[in-house]
């Protein structure tokens, strides 16, 4: 799964398989992190509050 695992080989199979996995996980991780941080900042500014 990682280059530091003993069975890792720098060949096309490992790069394509794991590259695809990490590409997808990175997009999902960055996307959800952005949403959470922005939601927290918006909430701190009073956005979305019922008391306006």
């Amino acid at each position: 799964m990682f280059p530091f695992n003993f069975e890792w080989i720098w060949d096309a199979g490992h790069i394509v398989f794991h590259g695809g996995l990490w590409y997808a996980l990175t997009i999902l991780g960055l996307g959800i992190t952005y949403c959470i941080i922005k939601a927290a900042l918006d909430a701190a500014k009073g956005k979305g509050s019922q008391h306006h």
């Binding site: 799964m1 695992n5 398989f17 996307g31 939601a39 918006d42 956005k47 979305g48």
Partner: protein
């Protein structure tokens, strides 16, 4: 009792009735969990699997629910990438159905692997030459996408959205949902395809073996195509069942019609490709491996391996629903629409059964005979388990979440005028979105 949690402007059954319904399905779920625990603790001897049926009932169920859940990725693709705006009125339900299907698929894999404690090995010590490794990667990651797509709906619950953080989070997730949907389409394309690639690369099993392009046999593309074609039919079918059970119209006809039309054309071109693939396999691929077409079928009456299964899959459950769905008059008639989506769903399930289970059971050596298989009650119970789980998930989501944006418009209720102090107690939250009067899930 739970009226504070129910979306505004919609009518739901009394709490006692809902609890009874959940309880009845919970009993079925418990039966399935009991069988699952038996398999966990006593092992695969609880099943009727044999050397010919190493993949059995629940693996068929696994592949079927993955394919049927394809409605989520394809509807999301049409809604967010292609820009079919009308589908915003059914995308929530497609996501919920997809979420149920994929969580069920992962649960089935959890008890199928036999050694659950080593389940993480497929990620950590991945065999990069295996199509199933790719399936495991994409299935897990795509389940994450579906969870991300389903979460904003949960945050839109009347009580949860009162918390500003969750309200903003739901809004922000909707803003970049196209990114998640595109990632989901990418992941789905590969794992649906790789599931089809598994029988396609079995050169020792000429019933499944296919030629292809580069490392991908034709079954890779046919599996993805069929999931995208029949998955939306499953979404329509479940929507229609939900409307029948609730005795309400939940989605406008133009939305169903659009999805059915797209699904119909997808199915039409898929079935042409499938017929072409079958003809090429029967006349070229199989003979090149030393088999004839009739080696794969028996003529004995009542056999599960008769030619009838091929005609049922391609003709009755392929060509017929495709024609119904692409002819506007038939598509707009409720009875034929019901027939078409049911047949398309059966056809997809039949295809997965044939390509995943029968492919291993058909004799390839002269001393082998036709094997039979009937699942044990433990297998049946663990296969019914996801159905009960799905009913509970749908019932709970329908009751507490704004799944159907058009429900209020289609089912207006005469509410008594609320006294001013009550009306002021629950003001609509402020919203920076384009339609402030609607929640993000609705807009």
């Amino acid at each position: 009792m739970d009226s504070a949690l129910i979306p505004k402007g919609v009518k739901r059954c009394p709490a006692w009735q809902f609890i009874m319904w959940i309880g009845a399905n919970g009993a079925v779920l418990t039966w399935g969990v009991f069988a699952l625990l038996l398999v966990y603790f006593k092992g695969l001897n609880q099943t009727n699997m044999n050397n010919a049926y190493g993949f059995a009932l629940w693996i068929w169920a696994d592949l079927a629910v993955i394919a049927l859940g394809g409605g989520a990725f394809f509807t999301g693709f049409l809604r967010y990438i292609v820009g079919k705006d009308e589908l915003k009125n059914i995308i929530n339900y497609a996501v919920l159905i997809g979420f149920i299907c994929y969580s069920s698929a992962l649960m089935i894999l959890g008890f199928d692997i036999g050694q659950p404690l080593r389940g993480w090995f497929i990620f950590w010590h991945a065999n990069v030459h295996s199509m199933l490794t790719e399936v495991a990667f994409c299935l897990t990651a795509y389940f994450g996408v579906l969870a991300i797509e389903y979460a904003p709906l949960v945050f839109e619950n009347r009580m949860i959205k009162k918390v500003p953080f969750f309200h903003n989070l739901s809004h922000n997730m909707h803003e970049i949902m196209a990114v998640f949907a595109a990632t989901g389409a990418f992941l789905s394309f590969f794992h649906q395809g790789s599931l089809g690639g598994v029988p396609g690369v079995l050169f020792g099993r000429p019933f499944g073996f296919r030629e292809g392009v580069l490392v991908w046999p034709w079954t890779f593309f046919l599996f993805t195509w069929s999931a995208a074609a029949a998955g939306p039919c499953f979404t329509i079918l479940i929507t229609k069942i939900t409307e029948a059970v609730t005795r309400k119209k939940l989605v406008k006809d133009n939305v169903i019609d659009l999805l059915a039309k797209i699904s119909g054309w997808m199915l039409f071109f898929y079935i042409i490709a499938k017929i072409g693939d079958t003809l090429y396999w029967a006349n070229v691929t199989a003979p090149s491996k030393g088999s004839t077409f009739m080696d794969f079928y028996t003529s004995s009456s009542g056999s599960a391996y008769g030619l009838w299964i091929l005609f049922a899959e391609i003709g009755v459950c392929g060509v017929l629903p495709a024609l119904i769905l692409i002819i506007p008059k038939l598509r707009k008639t409720q009875a034929t629409l019901w027939l078409a989506v049911i047949l398309a769903v059966i056809g997809l399930c039949l295809n997965r059964w044939v390509m995943v289970l029968q492919v291993l059971a058909i004799p390839v050596l002269t001393f082998e005979s036709w094997f039979t298989y009937f699942p044990s009650w433990q297998e049946i119970a663990t296969t019914i388990l996801p159905v009960a789980y799905g009913v509970i998930m749908i019932s709970t989501s329908y009751r507490y979440l704004p799944i159907f944006p058009q429900e209020r418009e289609l089912n207006p209720i005469d509410e008594p005028a609320a006294p001013p102090e009550v009306a002021e107690s629950e003001p609509e939250p402020t919203d920076a979105g384009p339609e402030p009067e609607l929640s993000p899930a609705e807009s």
